[in-house]
C-alpha cells in the first residue's frame, strides 16, 4: 500500500507539470462552463419542470470533468507511456503491475474530486447554483462509481489505440459526439427522443443522469439504475483491460 502512495505521489507531480493534461482536464471544462453560462445563461431548461440553464450546466460540466480526468486522461497518458517504452521499463522492476495501475487510478480519482470542488465552487460563486451539501453522500457515490468505471474504460481503450499520434483523435472521436448526444453540451429538452435512446446505449448518458439526480434538488438523489448501468460498463471495461492491456510498445 505504501508503494501505491509512492507511485501516486510521482504521478501527481508529473500530472500537474504537464501543461497539456492540466489544460484539457482542468482548464477546458472551466472554459466550457463559462461559455455555456454566458451564452445561455438567462434561459431555462425544460427538465424537472424547468431549471435554470446554469443549474443544468454545472452538473453537466462536472460529468465531463470526471470523464476527462479519468477515461480521457488515462487513455492518453498510458498510450504515451507505453509507446515511450516506460511501461515496459517499469515491468522490468520488482514493482507489481497492479501498484502502477492503482497509482494512476488514484491520481485520476483525486483530480476528478478536485474538479468537482472547483466546478461546484464556480457554479456557486459565479452563478448562484447552490452547492447541495445535504446531498454530498449521493454526489460522492455517483462520482466515485463513475470515476472508477471510466478509469477501467480508459485503460481498456488503450488496447485499441495503436500509437501516440492516434490517441487524441480516437479518444475525442469517441467522447465528443457522445457529450453532444447525451445532453452534456446540448440540454435534454432540445434533443430528439431518438438521440436520447441512442445515447442510452452508452455509459456517458447514464453517468450524467445519475450525477444530475444527485446534484440537482427535486430528483431521486441516488439513481440506482443509472449507477448500475455505469458500473456494469466499468466491470466490462475492467475485464477488457485485464485481457488486452499491453505493457510493451505496439510500434518499433
Amino acid at each position: 500500500m505504501s508503494l501505491v502512495l509512492h507511485q501516486f505521489r510521482y504521478d501527481q507531480k508529473a500530472f500537474w507539470r504537464n501543461p497539456a493534461s492540466v489544460f484539457f482536464t482542468v482548464g477546458f471544462p472551466v472554459i466550457l462552463l463559462l461559455i455555456f453560462a454566458t451564452v445561455f445563461g438567462d434561459q431555462t431548461v425544460d427538465v424537472r419542470g424547468g431549471v435554470k440553464t446554469t443549474t443544468y450546466y454545472v452538473p453537466a460540466i462536472i460529468t465531463l470533468s470526471v470523464i476527462s480526468a479519468t477515461m480521457q486522461s488515462l487513455a492518453m497518458s498510458l498510450v504515451i507511456a507505453r509507446e515511450d517504452g516506460r511501461l515496459k521499463r517499469g515491468r522490468g522492476t520488482p514493482m507489481p503491475p497492479w501498484v502502477f495501475i492503482a497509482g494512476r487510478i488514484g491520481n485520476s480519482i483525486v483530480v476528478a474530486l478536485l474538479m468537482l470542488a472547483l466546478i461546484a465552487a464556480i457554479g456557486d460563486i459565479g452563478y448562484g447554483v447552490g452547492i447541495p451539501w445535504s446531498r454530498l453522500p449521493a454526489i460522492l457515490l455517483a462520482l466515485v462509481v463513475g470515476a472508477a468505471s471510466f478509469c477501467c474504460l480508459g485503460i481498456a481503450l488503450t488496447a485499441a489505440i495503436p500509437s501516440q499520434d492516434a490517441a487524441a483523435p480516437i479518444v475525442n472521436a469517441l467522447l465528443l459526439p457522445l457529450y453532444f448526444l447525451s445532453g452534456v453540451f446540448i440540454p435534454d429538452d432540445q434533443l430528439p427522443s431518438g438521440v436520447i435512446h441512442f445515447a442510452d446505449a452508452f455509459p456517458i448518458r447514464h453517468f450524467f443522469e445519475a450525477f444530475f439526480d444527485a446534484y440537482v434538488p427535486g430528483g431521486a438523489t441516488v439513481s440506482w439504475d443509472n449507477l448500475a448501468v455505469v458500473a456494469i460498463w466499468g466491470v466490462v471495461g475492467a475485464f477488457l483491460a485485464i485481457r488486452y492491456f499491453r505493457w510493451v510498445p505496439r510500434s518499433g
Binding site: 509512492h6 507539470r17 507511456a81 517504452g85 515496459k88 515491468r91 522490468g92 522492476t93 520488482p94 507489481p96
Partner: protein, 282 residues
Amino acid sequence: MGDHVISIRGLRKSYGDVEAVRGIDLDVRRGEVFAFLGPNGAGKTTTVEILEGYRRRGGGEVSVLGEDPEHADRRWRERIGIVLQSCRLDPYLTVRESLALYAGYYSAPRPIEETIELVGLAEKADARASALSGGQQRRLDVGMALIGDPELLFLDEPTTGFDPSARRQAWETIAGLRELGKTVFLTTHYMDEAQRLADRVTIIAKGEIVASGTPEDLGDRESRPARISYREDGREISVETTTPVRTLNELTGRALAEGRELEGLEVRRPSLEDVYLELTEP
C-alpha cells in the same frame, strides 16, 4: 553452472516461419562485461528479451541468476537491472525524482545522490528529463537500472544513434560498472564498442553464434592470412600468406640481393572490423 550468471543451451525462438534464434549456447561469468555483437536483425534483442523475462522462448534451456526468467518473481527482479534499447523518460520528472521513483520499487536501493554521481549527472540533478541531451538521458536510463543495486545489468544497444562525444561518455559510465563488480550483458552492433568495453565477445548472425572469444583472439584473428603489399616497377603487388615471416624474408632477401627497395611495403593483419564483417556477411 558454476559461477555462470547466465547460461543458455540450445535456445530457439521463431516468429511465425522466421527463426530468429536457432539454437544458441552461451555462458556469462560473474563480474565480466559480456558483449553480444551482431548486425540488426541477427537475434540479439530477441535473446536479451528472453533473458530479461519479457519474452517466452521457443525451446532450449535458460538460466539467469540460477532461475528461469519465464518463471521469475519479484526477488529475481530485485537482482537485475535493465536498460532497454529504446525507452524515453518521464519528461516532467527531474533526474533526482526519476531515480527516487525507481528507488521506491526496490527493497535495498543504492543511495540516490551516489547514483547521480556515478552516472555523471550531478550538475543536472534537478533538471527535468526533457531538458537533458540524448547522452544524458541514456545515462539517467543507466542510473535507473542501477538504482536497485543489481548483480546483473542488461544494456541493449546503449549507444545506438549517438554522436561520438555522447558515445564516449556512455562508454565511460559502462566501464565504471566493472569497478562496481557488476556483471554486464551488453548487446551492440558496433565492433569498436565491444572491443573497448568487453572482456568477452560473442558474435551472432542470422540467429546463430558465429564466433566467440576475447576481443583480441576473436575469430582466430592471429591465424588468419596476412596481406603483404608493395610496389614493383609501379605495379601494386599484394600477397596473402599464412606464414608472413617466411614470405617477408623471401621477398626482402630477393630485393636485397638485387639491390633494390620494396616501395610502399606493408604487412596487414585483418582488423576486428574485417573479421566481424566477414563473419556477419549477409
